[in-house]
Symmetry: C2
Subunit: 390 residues, 2 copies
């Protein structure tokens, strides 16, 4: 029996033709814009110049804050907030992937308060005001372009956690699949693993929601499994890029998980500790964790969901015994992530050892002391899963 | 290559628990409410009293305008507009199916202008202002609860056409599947035919959109085909009712058809003439038209889409010759609509003869002189399809 509330206020401009409206969309929210971006790849691809031209044509005055890093850091956000306050910025333009958009959400809220923006995260303050955000997505991965959360890291305390609130939805998101033609193999693979993780973490539940949503999730999983390898091997394949891009938004905008009951993310809280302590790529951490998490949660109570997973997603013979189907499904998942996508399959290879695992397992379980996902995980469970990843 | 803009501002409250928030949601938009409903079934079911209680608890002053008919009539809308103006109504509550919500959209715009509300339709005026609308959906069918159009009839001129504009999106829609337990077999069947028509009219295209959307449409078609018969035979089956209800909203809220290119509705414009001239139930007219339209459009150019339809939706053997698959798929469609759902399979049985068909065919093609759907249809084509339905 489903009970949920659904709304999503983001206006999406999808495709190259729609991209022409960027300047006018930004201008509709303000005339003094802080242009936030990452490490400079947008300068190499020419996107930076193109955007400045569109903004100039719309009469928008532009200030800049480049240099947002993967796993965006609070120090950089504080600097951007100071610019907003000093210059009287009235609209933010985020150009990049999830890290840039997440950082921009925190900047947008920080610009409207007198306290340190890290307090939104550390003190769980829900922002009440924020500057309007327009974004241009350049990597299909996190879904930040169509949701109201942002994940921020604090290297001083090894914390990585989120700021969230309805005011943080972008006003407009520009999704132009052509802008992802230049995303390399590794980032395409990590982004695809992130999209899949968003869906899998909800889809693996003991209380499936209405069938329409259940089957739509399976459809999007199959879409990503089909198109991620195509995008890896043929980066300018528009069909692959448009499917991955729209899948990334819908995997994490609330629609597909509406009514999924008490389930919640499992791999994401575990991964956030990996990124917080070791600054690894989020999607890579998820890829390493996911098959171990699936193995760890497999038991008599959960096996029927693995059977559906094996049969519907991976085409495993439905006449095999349930645990055989489940194990084959997990093996197929590993094969996809580590062979087809070519991602590293263990933490040891990333230089991660046992040194912080206990502390990370505690932190992953947060103040409640457990992760309430597919199966409830205690710090001991999380520690076991981390060790399986070494 | 997809280019589209997507946004949908409706907040959906789904399920019985969420229904408790109705009074407070209405009150957030105003304190003087016009409560619009249909033929009085909500009084028999107790919903009317329940809503008055919720509104009273929220301190909302209630005015009433019941009696909205199927294929809602402009005369009734004019009366409601007069009440809005006289009483200074500031929020509208629509309780019913698509007819009630469509009528309420026209009332909401009519209340904000000095001219006759029929002018929105006759003169193609896009409303710029409208009173806020909250609705409680009682039949899964039209999708009006999550879109910005309303279809209105004018019996004096035998016209049936739409008013539309972004201002007409409901602010909040309450979707409580339990409220559809009392919908009878015939209306459940007609509603399901309407949902399927909304998807089929887009899905049958020579330029399919990105695969994710294509496959999501197929998923929702299969959902309706599975659950409509269950709801017919077991009207209080929550699982069936929740799937049909959420399918109705998503079949017609713009998401699934975004990027479907130049395709557009075919059966809907043809059906609107049937309802305008003979006041028949919209979903019934669609059910009668759809298989004839499919037969009429089948040719060498279009057959491949029918093959996908047959194999993916109806489980037809993919090794058969393409036209054999297509014809079996159409036969399966007929069997579903006329046997499983039990709908009348021809217009003659409804008392419709040849007398107005030429005029209706002209009107269905509108000022442009053709219908630009799956295949372009001229008035001559439409006339042929109408005759196939006799």
């Amino acid at each position: 029996m489903s009970n949920f509330r659904w709304s999503n206020p983001v206006t999406v401009y999808f495709g190259e033709d729609q991209f022409q409206s960027l300047g006018e969309a930004v201008a509709s929210y303000g005339k003094k814009c802080l242009f936030v971006y990452g490490g400079g790849s947008i300068k190499r691809t020419g996107l930076y110049d193109r955007i400045l031209t569109l903004l100039a044509q719309a009469g928008v005055e532009v200030f800049e804050k480049g240099g947002v890093e993967p796993n965006p850091k609070i120090g950089h956000i504080r600097e951007a907030v100071a610019i907003c306050k000093k210059e009287g910025i009235d609209v933010l333009l985020a150009v990049g992937g999830g890290s840039v958009i997440d950082a921009t959400k925190c900047i947008s809220a920080g610009a409207c308060v007198d306290f340190d923006p890290w307090d939104f995260i550390a003190k769980h303050i829900v922002p009440e005001k924020a500057l309007p955000i327009v974004d241009v997505l350049t990597i299909a991965a996190t879904g930040s372009e169509m949701n109201s959360g942002g994940v921020i890291s604090n290297p001083e305390t090894n914390d990585k956690a989120s700021v969230r609130g309805p005011i943080l939805y972008p006003k407009a998101s520009f999704l132009n699949p052509e802008l992802t033609f230049t995303v390399g193999r590794y980032q395409t693979a990590c982004g695809s693993a992130d999209i899949l993780s968003h869906i899998w973490e909800n889809w693996f539940t003991l209380t499936p929601p209405m069938e329409m949503l259940d089957k739509i999730q399976e459809t999007v999983i199959k879409t990503v499994i089909k198109y991620a390898p195509i995008a890896l091997n043929d980066p300018e394949n528009y069909e692959a890029r448009e499917n991955l891009m729209w899948a990334s938004s819908w995997a994490m905008n609330g629609f597909m998980m509406a009514g999924f009951g008490k389930s919640g993310p499992s791999c994401h809280p575990m991964e956030h500790q990996l990124s917080a302590f070791y600054d690894i790529t989020h999607g890579l951490g998820l890829a390493i964790l996911t098959p171990r998490w699936l193995r760890y949660c497999l038991d008599e109570q959960t096996v029927s969901r693995y059977v559906t997973f094996g049969v519907e997603i991976w085409g495993v013979d439905p006449d095999l015994p349930p645990f055989e189907i489940a194990n084959r499904a997990i093996a197929k998942t590993e094969e996809f992530l580590f062979e087809t996508l070519g991602l590293e399959d263990n933490l040891t290879a990333l230089g991660i050892g046992e040194e912080h695992l206990e502390e990370m397992a505690e932190k992953a379980c947060g103040a409640r002391g457990f992760i309430s996902g597919f199966k409830r995980l205690t710090p001991r469970d999380v520690l076991n899963i981390y060790k399986m990843c070494l």
